[in-house]
Symmetry: C2
Subunit: 226 residues, 2 copies
Protein backbone atom coordinates (compact mmCIF):
# COMPACT_ATOMS: atom_id res chain seq x y z
CA UNK A 1 0.00 0.00 0.00
CA UNK A 2 2.23 2.83 -1.06
CA UNK A 3 -0.83 4.74 -2.29
CA UNK A 4 -2.23 6.66 0.64
CA UNK A 5 -5.33 8.70 0.87
CA UNK A 6 -4.97 12.19 2.29
CA UNK A 7 -6.36 11.14 5.62
CA UNK A 8 -3.73 8.48 6.09
CA UNK A 9 -1.04 10.87 4.92
CA UNK A 10 -2.10 13.37 7.56
CA UNK A 11 -2.15 10.76 10.28
CA UNK A 12 1.34 9.75 9.27
CA UNK A 13 2.48 13.31 9.84
CA UNK A 14 0.81 13.45 13.24
CA UNK A 15 2.36 10.10 14.10
CA UNK A 16 5.76 11.47 13.09
CA UNK A 17 5.47 14.11 15.78
CA UNK A 18 4.29 11.67 18.42
CA UNK A 19 6.99 9.17 17.48
CA UNK A 20 9.62 11.85 17.93
CA UNK A 21 8.31 12.43 21.45
CA UNK A 22 8.41 8.70 22.10
CA UNK A 23 11.92 8.36 23.48
CA UNK A 24 12.99 9.21 27.03
CA UNK A 25 16.23 10.81 25.93
CA UNK A 26 14.47 13.06 23.45
CA UNK A 27 12.00 14.13 26.12
CA UNK A 28 14.90 14.99 28.39
CA UNK A 29 16.46 16.97 25.55
CA UNK A 30 13.22 18.88 25.13
CA UNK A 31 13.16 19.74 28.80
CA UNK A 32 16.67 21.14 28.54
CA UNK A 33 15.94 23.05 25.35
CA UNK A 34 12.92 24.53 27.10
CA UNK A 35 15.37 26.35 29.36
CA UNK A 36 16.95 28.02 26.33
CA UNK A 37 18.85 27.34 23.10
CA UNK A 38 21.78 24.92 23.30
CA UNK A 39 24.56 23.74 21.03
CA UNK A 40 24.88 20.04 20.31
CA UNK A 41 27.98 19.85 22.43
CA UNK A 42 26.42 21.65 25.39
CA UNK A 43 23.37 19.44 25.30
CA UNK A 44 25.49 16.31 25.07
CA UNK A 45 27.48 17.44 28.12
CA UNK A 46 24.31 18.15 30.12
CA UNK A 47 22.91 14.74 29.35
CA UNK A 48 26.15 12.78 29.54
CA UNK A 49 25.68 11.31 26.10
CA UNK A 50 27.97 10.95 23.06
CA UNK A 51 27.76 13.94 20.76
CA UNK A 52 26.87 11.91 17.68
CA UNK A 53 23.97 10.33 19.51
CA UNK A 54 22.60 13.70 20.57
CA UNK A 55 23.10 15.05 17.07
CA UNK A 56 21.02 12.25 15.61
CA UNK A 57 18.24 12.65 18.11
CA UNK A 58 18.22 16.38 17.44
CA UNK A 59 17.74 15.70 13.79
CA UNK A 60 14.91 13.33 14.52
CA UNK A 61 13.30 16.12 16.52
CA UNK A 62 13.94 18.59 13.73
CA UNK A 63 12.36 16.35 11.12
CA UNK A 64 9.27 16.26 13.32
CA UNK A 65 9.21 20.06 13.57
CA UNK A 66 9.83 19.98 17.30
CA UNK A 67 13.13 21.84 17.39
CA UNK A 68 14.72 24.32 15.03
CA UNK A 69 18.40 24.83 14.31
CA UNK A 70 20.30 28.04 13.81
CA UNK A 71 23.92 28.11 12.76
CA UNK A 72 26.19 30.56 14.55
CA UNK A 73 29.76 30.22 13.37
CA UNK A 74 31.04 26.80 14.28
CA UNK A 75 28.09 26.10 16.50
CA UNK A 76 24.58 25.07 15.71
CA UNK A 77 22.13 26.21 18.33
CA UNK A 78 18.98 24.20 18.72
CA UNK A 79 15.84 25.48 20.37
CA UNK A 80 12.21 24.47 20.62
CA UNK A 81 10.39 25.30 17.41
CA UNK A 82 7.26 26.49 19.08
CA UNK A 83 5.56 26.86 22.44
CA UNK A 84 3.05 24.30 21.28
CA UNK A 85 5.79 21.71 21.78
CA UNK A 86 5.70 22.31 25.51
CA UNK A 87 1.96 22.00 25.61
CA UNK A 88 2.18 18.72 23.69
CA UNK A 89 4.74 17.48 26.18
CA UNK A 90 2.48 18.58 29.02
CA UNK A 91 -0.51 16.78 27.51
CA UNK A 92 1.40 13.56 27.11
CA UNK A 93 2.66 13.89 30.66
CA UNK A 94 -0.90 14.49 31.80
CA UNK A 95 -2.12 11.25 30.25
CA UNK A 96 0.72 9.35 31.87
CA UNK A 97 0.12 10.91 35.27
CA UNK A 98 -3.57 10.22 35.16
CA UNK A 99 -3.53 6.74 33.69
CA UNK A 100 -0.30 4.97 34.42
CA UNK A 101 -0.06 3.43 37.85
CA UNK A 102 3.66 3.09 37.25
CA UNK A 103 4.06 6.86 37.33
CA UNK A 104 2.36 7.04 40.67
CA UNK A 105 4.50 4.23 41.98
CA UNK A 106 7.71 5.93 40.93
CA UNK A 107 6.65 9.20 42.42
CA UNK A 108 5.67 7.60 45.71
CA UNK A 109 8.73 5.40 45.83
CA UNK A 110 11.37 7.95 45.10
CA UNK A 111 9.95 11.29 46.02
CA UNK A 112 8.95 10.01 49.41
CA UNK A 113 6.11 11.48 51.39
CA UNK A 114 4.89 13.55 48.55
CA UNK A 115 1.99 14.90 50.58
CA UNK A 116 4.50 16.78 52.64
CA UNK A 117 5.89 17.93 49.35
CA UNK A 118 2.72 19.72 48.31
CA UNK A 119 3.97 22.30 45.85
CA UNK A 120 3.31 25.99 46.05
CA UNK A 121 1.26 27.30 43.15
CA UNK A 122 2.48 30.18 41.06
CA UNK A 123 -0.20 32.45 42.45
CA UNK A 124 0.62 31.52 46.03
CA UNK A 125 4.26 32.21 45.36
CA UNK A 126 3.59 35.63 43.93
CA UNK A 127 1.54 36.57 46.97
CA UNK A 128 4.26 35.28 49.31
CA UNK A 129 6.95 37.15 47.40
CA UNK A 130 4.92 40.35 47.50
CA UNK A 131 4.70 40.04 51.24
CA UNK A 132 8.41 39.22 51.53
CA UNK A 133 7.66 36.09 53.52
CA UNK A 134 9.85 33.61 51.72
CA UNK A 135 13.19 33.14 50.00
CA UNK A 136 12.92 31.82 46.47
CA UNK A 137 15.83 29.76 45.18
CA UNK A 138 16.46 28.60 41.62
CA UNK A 139 18.41 25.34 41.91
CA UNK A 140 19.33 25.05 38.24
CA UNK A 141 22.92 25.50 37.04
CA UNK A 142 24.06 29.09 36.69
CA UNK A 143 23.92 29.14 32.89
CA UNK A 144 20.28 28.21 32.83
CA UNK A 145 19.51 30.70 35.57
CA UNK A 146 21.17 33.42 33.50
CA UNK A 147 18.94 32.73 30.52
CA UNK A 148 15.82 33.52 32.48
CA UNK A 149 14.53 33.17 36.02
CA UNK A 150 11.69 34.20 38.26
CA UNK A 151 12.14 37.79 39.46
CA UNK A 152 13.48 37.84 42.98
CA UNK A 153 14.92 34.34 42.84
CA UNK A 154 18.44 33.61 44.06
CA UNK A 155 20.50 31.12 42.09
CA UNK A 156 21.61 28.28 44.34
CA UNK A 157 22.64 25.33 42.17
CA UNK A 158 21.70 22.03 43.75
CA UNK A 159 25.25 21.16 44.80
CA UNK A 160 25.55 24.39 46.71
CA UNK A 161 22.29 24.18 48.60
CA UNK A 162 23.82 22.73 51.76
CA UNK A 163 26.57 25.30 51.96
CA UNK A 164 24.15 28.09 51.19
CA UNK A 165 21.65 27.04 53.83
CA UNK A 166 24.29 27.17 56.57
CA UNK A 167 24.46 30.91 56.23
CA UNK A 168 20.75 31.62 56.24
CA UNK A 169 18.05 31.99 58.84
CA UNK A 170 16.62 28.49 59.31
CA UNK A 171 13.27 29.86 60.41
CA UNK A 172 12.57 31.54 57.07
CA UNK A 173 10.71 29.40 54.57
CA UNK A 174 12.47 28.53 51.32
CA UNK A 175 10.72 27.81 48.01
CA UNK A 176 12.74 25.94 45.40
CA UNK A 177 12.13 25.48 41.68
CA UNK A 178 14.02 24.06 38.73
CA UNK A 179 13.36 22.96 35.15
CA UNK A 180 9.90 21.54 35.28
CA UNK A 181 7.30 19.57 37.20
CA UNK A 182 9.29 16.34 37.27
CA UNK A 183 12.75 17.75 37.44
CA UNK A 184 14.33 16.05 40.43
CA UNK A 185 16.53 18.95 41.43
CA UNK A 186 13.91 20.90 43.34
CA UNK A 187 12.75 17.72 45.09
CA UNK A 188 16.28 17.06 46.23
CA UNK A 189 16.86 20.64 47.27
CA UNK A 190 13.76 20.57 49.43
CA UNK A 191 14.76 17.24 50.96
CA UNK A 192 18.24 18.55 51.73
CA UNK A 193 16.93 21.75 53.29
CA UNK A 194 14.45 19.88 55.44
CA UNK A 195 17.08 17.49 56.69
CA UNK A 196 18.97 20.56 57.86
CA UNK A 197 16.01 21.87 59.80
CA UNK A 198 14.77 24.42 57.28
CA UNK A 199 11.20 24.86 56.21
CA UNK A 200 11.14 24.28 52.47
CA UNK A 201 8.65 23.61 49.67
CA UNK A 202 8.69 23.24 45.92
CA UNK A 203 7.14 25.54 43.37
CA UNK A 204 4.78 23.70 41.04
CA UNK A 205 6.28 23.26 37.61
CA UNK A 206 9.44 25.12 36.63
CA UNK A 207 10.84 27.92 34.57
CA UNK A 208 9.35 27.05 31.15
CA UNK A 209 5.88 26.81 32.62
CA UNK A 210 6.34 30.10 34.45
CA UNK A 211 7.29 31.79 31.21
CA UNK A 212 4.48 30.07 29.33
CA UNK A 213 2.01 31.42 31.88
CA UNK A 214 3.00 34.90 30.74
CA UNK A 215 4.62 35.83 34.04
CA UNK A 216 7.62 38.16 34.15
CA UNK A 217 11.11 36.75 33.69
CA UNK A 218 14.43 38.24 34.66
CA UNK A 219 17.48 37.73 32.46
CA UNK A 220 21.14 38.17 33.35
CA UNK A 221 22.52 40.09 30.41
CA UNK A 222 26.20 40.62 31.08
CA UNK A 223 27.60 37.38 32.37
CA UNK A 224 30.94 35.83 31.62
CA UNK A 225 30.22 32.78 29.52
CA UNK A 226 30.85 29.54 31.34
Amino acid sequence: MSIRNPKQALYEQFATVAKALGHPLRLEMIEHLAQGARSVEALAAKLGQPIANISQHLQALRRAGIVSAERDGKFVHYSLADDSVLSAFASVRGVAERQLAEVDRIVRGYFDARDDMRPVTRDELRAMMRDGLVTLIDVRPADEFALGHVPGAINVPLREVKAWSAGTDASREVIAYCRGPWCVMSFEAVAALRSLGHSARRLEDGMPEWKAAGLPVEVVTCVASL
Copy 2:
Protein backbone atom coordinates in the same frame (compact mmCIF):
# COMPACT_ATOMS: atom_id res chain seq x y z
CA MET B 1 22.27 0.63 32.11
CA SER B 2 19.45 -1.27 33.69
CA ILE B 3 19.70 0.87 36.80
CA ARG B 4 17.60 3.95 36.21
CA ASN B 5 17.20 6.97 38.35
CA PRO B 6 13.64 8.09 39.06
CA LYS B 7 13.85 10.87 36.52
CA GLN B 8 14.70 8.47 33.71
CA ALA B 9 12.02 6.09 34.89
CA LEU B 10 9.44 8.85 34.68
CA TYR B 11 10.58 9.90 31.23
CA GLU B 12 10.25 6.32 30.11
CA GLN B 13 6.64 6.37 31.18
CA PHE B 14 5.97 9.60 29.35
CA ALA B 15 7.74 8.19 26.29
CA THR B 16 5.50 5.12 26.50
CA VAL B 17 2.46 7.31 26.05
CA ALA B 18 3.99 9.27 23.18
CA LYS B 19 5.18 6.09 21.50
CA ALA B 20 1.69 4.68 21.65
CA LEU B 21 0.46 7.78 19.83
CA GLY B 22 3.22 7.36 17.25
CA HIS B 23 1.44 5.17 14.73
CA PRO B 24 -1.06 6.37 12.13
CA LEU B 25 -3.37 3.42 12.62
CA ARG B 26 -3.51 3.94 16.37
CA LEU B 27 -4.31 7.60 15.86
CA GLU B 28 -7.12 6.63 13.55
CA MET B 29 -8.35 4.18 16.16
CA ILE B 30 -8.35 6.95 18.74
CA GLU B 31 -10.42 9.15 16.47
CA HIS B 32 -12.98 6.39 16.12
CA LEU B 33 -13.03 5.62 19.83
CA ALA B 34 -13.59 9.31 20.46
CA GLN B 35 -17.00 8.86 18.85
CA GLY B 36 -17.90 6.23 21.44
CA ALA B 37 -16.94 2.80 22.77
CA ARG B 38 -16.33 0.06 20.22
CA SER B 39 -15.70 -3.66 20.23
CA VAL B 40 -12.54 -4.98 18.65
CA GLU B 41 -14.53 -6.41 15.79
CA ALA B 42 -16.46 -3.20 15.13
CA LEU B 43 -13.29 -1.15 15.13
CA ALA B 44 -11.58 -3.58 12.79
CA ALA B 45 -14.51 -3.36 10.40
CA LYS B 46 -14.47 0.45 10.46
CA LEU B 47 -10.79 0.55 9.69
CA GLY B 48 -10.67 -2.35 7.25
CA GLN B 49 -7.97 -4.13 9.23
CA PRO B 50 -7.53 -7.71 10.47
CA ILE B 51 -8.99 -8.23 13.92
CA ALA B 52 -5.76 -9.53 15.44
CA ASN B 53 -3.92 -6.46 14.28
CA ILE B 54 -6.47 -4.15 15.84
CA SER B 55 -6.47 -6.22 19.02
CA GLN B 56 -2.73 -5.82 19.36
CA HIS B 57 -2.79 -2.12 18.74
CA LEU B 58 -5.58 -1.77 21.29
CA GLN B 59 -3.43 -3.49 23.83
CA ALA B 60 -0.54 -1.21 23.05
CA LEU B 61 -2.89 1.70 23.67
CA ARG B 62 -4.13 0.12 26.87
CA ARG B 63 -0.63 -0.42 28.20
CA ALA B 64 -0.05 3.28 27.65
CA GLY B 65 -3.21 4.17 29.55
CA ILE B 66 -4.83 5.66 26.48
CA VAL B 67 -7.81 3.36 26.21
CA SER B 68 -9.65 1.24 28.73
CA ALA B 69 -11.40 -2.06 28.16
CA GLU B 70 -14.66 -3.32 29.57
CA ARG B 71 -15.91 -6.82 29.03
CA ASP B 72 -19.57 -7.26 28.18
CA GLY B 73 -20.40 -10.89 27.52
CA LYS B 74 -18.48 -12.08 24.51
CA PHE B 75 -17.45 -8.58 23.56
CA VAL B 76 -14.78 -6.32 24.93
CA HIS B 77 -15.66 -2.67 24.51
CA TYR B 78 -12.79 -0.26 24.30
CA SER B 79 -13.10 3.44 24.95
CA LEU B 80 -10.80 6.36 25.57
CA ALA B 81 -9.46 6.25 29.11
CA ASP B 82 -9.70 9.95 29.66
CA ASP B 83 -10.53 13.25 27.99
CA SER B 84 -6.90 14.18 28.39
CA VAL B 85 -6.17 11.74 25.57
CA LEU B 86 -8.03 13.95 23.14
CA SER B 87 -6.16 17.01 24.30
CA ALA B 88 -2.86 15.17 23.87
CA PHE B 89 -3.90 14.20 20.37
CA ALA B 90 -4.88 17.80 19.68
CA SER B 91 -1.54 19.09 20.95
CA VAL B 92 0.41 16.71 18.78
CA ARG B 93 -1.75 17.68 15.82
CA GLY B 94 -1.10 21.31 16.64
CA VAL B 95 2.65 20.87 16.50
CA ALA B 96 2.37 19.06 13.18
CA GLU B 97 0.07 21.70 11.70
CA ARG B 98 2.29 24.54 12.79
CA GLN B 99 5.67 23.06 11.99
CA LEU B 100 5.42 20.47 9.26
CA ALA B 101 5.27 21.86 5.76
CA GLU B 102 4.14 18.45 4.62
CA VAL B 103 0.86 18.84 6.48
CA ASP B 104 0.18 22.09 4.72
CA ARG B 105 1.04 20.52 1.38
CA ILE B 106 -1.35 17.64 1.92
CA VAL B 107 -4.13 19.92 3.02
CA ARG B 108 -3.66 22.23 0.05
CA GLY B 109 -3.26 19.40 -2.41
CA TYR B 110 -6.22 17.31 -1.47
CA PHE B 111 -8.68 19.57 0.25
CA ASP B 112 -8.51 21.98 -2.66
CA ALA B 113 -9.25 25.64 -2.28
CA ARG B 114 -9.31 25.51 1.45
CA ASP B 115 -9.93 29.23 1.74
CA ASP B 116 -13.35 28.64 0.26
CA MET B 117 -13.65 25.95 2.85
CA ARG B 118 -13.37 28.32 5.79
CA PRO B 119 -15.06 26.42 8.56
CA VAL B 120 -17.89 27.70 10.68
CA THR B 121 -16.97 28.04 14.33
CA ARG B 122 -19.04 26.40 17.01
CA ASP B 123 -20.27 29.76 18.23
CA GLU B 124 -21.25 30.89 14.74
CA LEU B 125 -23.12 27.66 14.24
CA ARG B 126 -25.07 28.03 17.46
CA ALA B 127 -26.13 31.53 16.46
CA MET B 128 -27.15 30.35 12.99
CA MET B 129 -29.10 27.45 14.44
CA ARG B 130 -30.89 29.70 16.91
CA ASP B 131 -31.99 31.87 14.02
CA GLY B 132 -33.02 28.84 11.96
CA LEU B 133 -30.92 29.98 9.04
CA VAL B 134 -29.14 26.77 8.19
CA THR B 135 -29.52 23.02 7.95
CA LEU B 136 -26.96 21.09 9.96
CA ILE B 137 -26.05 17.63 8.71
CA ASP B 138 -24.00 14.97 10.47
CA VAL B 139 -22.29 12.96 7.74
CA ARG B 140 -21.05 10.15 9.96
CA PRO B 141 -22.51 6.64 9.76
CA ALA B 142 -25.81 6.15 11.55
CA ASP B 143 -24.33 4.21 14.47
CA GLU B 144 -21.96 7.01 15.38
CA PHE B 145 -24.74 9.56 15.01
CA ALA B 146 -26.88 7.56 17.40
CA LEU B 147 -24.21 7.65 20.10
CA GLY B 148 -24.25 11.41 20.22
CA HIS B 149 -24.76 14.33 17.88
CA VAL B 150 -25.24 18.06 17.84
CA PRO B 151 -28.83 18.98 18.75
CA GLY B 152 -30.81 19.81 15.64
CA ALA B 153 -28.51 17.94 13.29
CA ILE B 154 -29.89 15.58 10.66
CA ASN B 155 -28.00 12.37 10.00
CA VAL B 156 -27.02 12.17 6.33
CA PRO B 157 -24.20 9.63 5.94
CA LEU B 158 -21.71 10.66 3.32
CA ARG B 159 -22.94 8.19 0.70
CA GLU B 160 -26.45 9.54 0.94
CA VAL B 161 -25.59 13.20 0.65
CA LYS B 162 -26.27 13.42 -3.08
CA ALA B 163 -29.63 11.73 -2.88
CA TRP B 164 -30.59 13.77 0.15
CA SER B 165 -29.68 17.08 -1.45
CA ALA B 166 -31.98 16.43 -4.42
CA GLY B 167 -34.99 16.76 -2.15
CA THR B 168 -33.94 19.93 -0.37
CA ASP B 169 -34.09 23.62 -1.07
CA ALA B 170 -30.82 24.47 -2.83
CA SER B 171 -30.89 28.04 -1.61
CA ARG B 172 -30.67 27.10 2.04
CA GLU B 173 -27.15 26.87 3.44
CA VAL B 174 -25.95 23.52 4.72
CA ILE B 175 -23.34 23.02 7.44
CA ALA B 176 -21.67 19.61 7.60
CA TYR B 177 -19.60 18.03 10.34
CA CYS B 178 -18.13 14.61 11.06
CA ARG B 179 -15.57 13.01 13.36
CA GLY B 180 -12.98 15.66 13.79
CA PRO B 181 -10.96 18.46 12.26
CA TRP B 182 -9.19 16.30 9.69
CA CYS B 183 -11.92 13.80 9.03
CA VAL B 184 -12.37 13.85 5.27
CA MET B 185 -16.06 13.12 5.29
CA SER B 186 -17.27 16.63 5.91
CA PHE B 187 -14.84 17.97 3.30
CA GLU B 188 -16.26 15.58 0.76
CA ALA B 189 -19.84 16.30 1.73
CA VAL B 190 -19.29 20.01 1.24
CA ALA B 191 -17.57 19.44 -2.10
CA ALA B 192 -20.45 17.24 -3.26
CA LEU B 193 -23.10 19.72 -2.18
CA ARG B 194 -21.31 22.60 -3.87
CA SER B 195 -21.01 20.69 -7.10
CA LEU B 196 -24.77 20.32 -6.99
CA GLY B 197 -25.32 24.05 -6.58
CA HIS B 198 -25.88 24.13 -2.85
CA SER B 199 -24.29 26.55 -0.48
CA ALA B 200 -22.35 24.48 2.02
CA ARG B 201 -19.64 24.87 4.64
CA ARG B 202 -17.91 22.73 7.25
CA LEU B 203 -18.15 23.04 10.99
CA GLU B 204 -14.74 23.38 12.59
CA ASP B 205 -13.70 20.18 14.35
CA GLY B 206 -16.20 17.42 14.92
CA MET B 207 -18.32 15.65 17.48
CA PRO B 208 -15.67 14.86 20.11
CA GLU B 209 -14.53 18.47 20.18
CA TRP B 210 -18.12 19.66 20.46
CA LYS B 211 -18.65 17.42 23.44
CA ALA B 212 -15.31 18.39 24.95
CA ALA B 213 -16.36 22.04 24.72
CA GLY B 214 -19.18 21.24 27.10
CA LEU B 215 -21.92 21.87 24.54
CA PRO B 216 -25.15 19.87 24.60
CA VAL B 217 -25.32 16.51 22.87
CA GLU B 218 -28.33 14.57 21.71
CA VAL B 219 -28.39 10.80 21.93
CA VAL B 220 -30.69 8.38 20.14
CA THR B 221 -31.76 6.03 22.89
CA CYS B 222 -34.09 3.48 21.32
CA VAL B 223 -32.55 2.43 18.05
CA ALA B 224 -32.44 -1.02 16.55
CA SER B 225 -28.82 -2.10 16.76
CA LEU B 226 -27.14 -2.20 13.37
